[in-house]
Amino acid sequence: MSEASADFWKRVADSDLLYSFRRSPGAIIAAVVTLGLGLAALLAPWIAPHDPFDPAGLSILDNFLPPAWEEGGDARFLLGTDDQGRDLLSAMLYGLRISLAVGFASVILAMIVGVWLGLIAGYVGGFADVIIMRVADVQMTFPAILIALLLAGIFRGTAGPGSSDSATMMLLIISISLSFWVQYARTVRGSVLVQASKEYVEAARLIGVSSIGIMVRHILPNVLAPVLVIATINLALAIIIEATLSFLGVGVPSGRPSLGTLIRIGNDYLFSGEWWITLFPGVLLGVLALSVNLFGDWLRDALNPKLA
């Protein structure tokens, strides 16, 4: 380990953030659970006991098997099987993977769009500022889930029913991220207005740094803390919105079931006694959303940024 990186790690170990982290058991549990679920999702193809999407490996005779510890359960399928005889545990791991992927992708997209629009609104000002902030105002009036649902509906209308799985996925990610950009834009704009009048920005401009250079190299680093907090809190929200849209049948394509899709499939069988198809994915989704939320809450309290 070189001198510089040792120095870096010492600074990390001495930081307030880590100190606060060590002292809040809730945050530690939340972080460990989130990380564990993230790893499980990442490694799903290797750790899942079965490949739920390989039609050759499925047998319809295995359908509706209860969890292994229940009467009639099969040791091959720890958490039971669904209506098509898929191993529920494997389907959940793959579903987790898709839920997290859609969540991360939409948060990152929203972050990029929102941060740029915020930088432009704050730094360029004038007409661009008025337009961007007015649109943000109008959008703030409506809940994110309503906007995502509406966009998903419009995209379905324009794309038609025959569009491919990956196109549907892209449109889903776009609809979720478009319902989130406002918060980033407002926060970044506010910080930019504060930073832009400071002397170091003035100095940078005097020595001839371009507008884009000032925005990216000098102003952006100053607004990263609030952006990070918003992103963490939004990740939980994005996961919930994706699950909700998939549950409502306008989310991920049926070929790639997420946790929400699994819950929707299972919901049809709740009354006939096959509770595990709904409840296990439901619990997993709840644990995921709760731990990401708790971690976001802690991060907000620890960094304590001004959020717009």
Binding site: D137, L150, R156, G157, A243, F247, A289
Partner: protein, 325 residues
């Protein structure tokens, strides 16, 4: 004061214009209205006549103006799927959603305020800590999951309450109500808890923090010194001061309640507007989507405006500060 109201009114109208423009673009350019209305065997000529009759060949501004005027007369066109006037479909579904919303709001306030007061008075007690943990879980869990869990426990396992539909309804002058039959009332319980839970936790947390803030103030101490009973102080003096933010938040939350009613209505197969909208999204029934969009926007804008005005009348500091930017 007058300029404040005026600017807010202008803002509301501007929002509505933007939303109607979006709805119009949706209505006019997502899919071809003529293709949606006629069958395969209709000739090109007939299509062209229909196009002319519908005014689809006029300039865009004329069409938009006509769209807005019709919307003001509650004429939202004909559903592609049901071949029925959209306004009639919505009118038929409106009572179900409004009754569900009403009961949820009553549930949210009726439980949220007392629980908030209690946990604000005794923040360290076991019960209020338990409520805080529960409320965190309630906020984190997606609405549809809460609904499914409630159905699983109370309908599937215990068999106490119905899990779908409105039960028996009574028709009073075109308004179908579920308030008058026992099956109708029973059907309301689970959906309204599902829908109101999020708002309940929100109100509870808000009241709790307000109460904790108010209790150490001088006027509460003075009330105690005057020898007033705890109940009068807590519910008369302390609670009254927390009511302004509670009213504001509850008012603004009505919008989210309507948004979340889409999910609740789907879980419980509740025949309201939300279910209608979701079916329209699934079937790409554009006129229904456009009408729902405008209706919801109108509700939101009206509520926001009302809350703004209420705030100004309740809190004189806003009036004195002049027009906020």
């Amino acid at each position: 004061m007058v300029s404040f109201i005026f600017s807010r009114l202008m803002q509301a109208i501007a929002t509505m214009l933007v939303v109607t423009l979006i709805a119009f673009v949706l209505f006019r350019y997502v899919g071809d209205p003529v293709n949606q209305m006629v069958g395969i065997e209709t000739s090109l000529e007939q299509r062209e006549t229909l196009r002319e009759q519908l005014g689809l060949n006029d300039s865009m501004s004329v069409q938009y103006l006509r769209f807005v005027v019709r919307a003001l007369h509650l004429d939202f066109g004909v559903s592609y799927q049901q071949k029925e006037a959209v306004s009639a479909m919505i009118a038929q579904r409106l009572p179900a959603t409004l009754e569900l919303t009403l009961v949820s709001v009553i549930f949210a306030i009726g439980f949220g305020v007392p629980l908030g007061v209690l946990s604000g008075l005794h923040p360290r007690s076991l019960a209020s800590r338990a409520f805080m943990v529960l409320s965190l879980i309630g906020v984190s869990l997606p609405t549809f999951l809460i609904g499914i869990l409630l159905i699983f426990v109370f309908s599937v396992q215990l068999g106490w309450l119905p899990s779908f539909g409105r039960g028996e309804t009574v028709l009073i002058g075109g308004w179908s109500t579920g308030f008058l039959t026992s099956s109708g009332l029973q059907s309301l319980i689970l959906p309204s808890i599902t829908l109101g839970l999020f708002q309940m936790t929100l109100i509870m947390r808000l009241v709790r923090s307000e109460i904790m803030e108010v209790l150490p103030t001088d006027y509460i101490k003075f009330a105690r010194a005057r020898g007033l009973s705890d109940r009068v102080i807590h519910f008369g003096h302390a609670l009254r001061n927390t009511m302004i933010p509670v009213i504001t938040v509850t008012g603004l939350q009505i919008g989210s309640i309507i948004a979340f009613s889409i999910i609740t209505e789907t879980v419980f197969q509740w025949p309201g507007m939300g279910l209608l909208f979701l079916q329209a999204v699934q079937n790409v029934d554009i006129p229904v989507m456009a009408a729902y969009l405008m209706l919801i926007a109108f509700l939101f804008v009206t509520i926001n405006l009302a809350v703004d005005l209420l705030y100004v009348t309740v809190d004189p500091r806003i009036r004195l500060a002049g027009t906020p930017a």
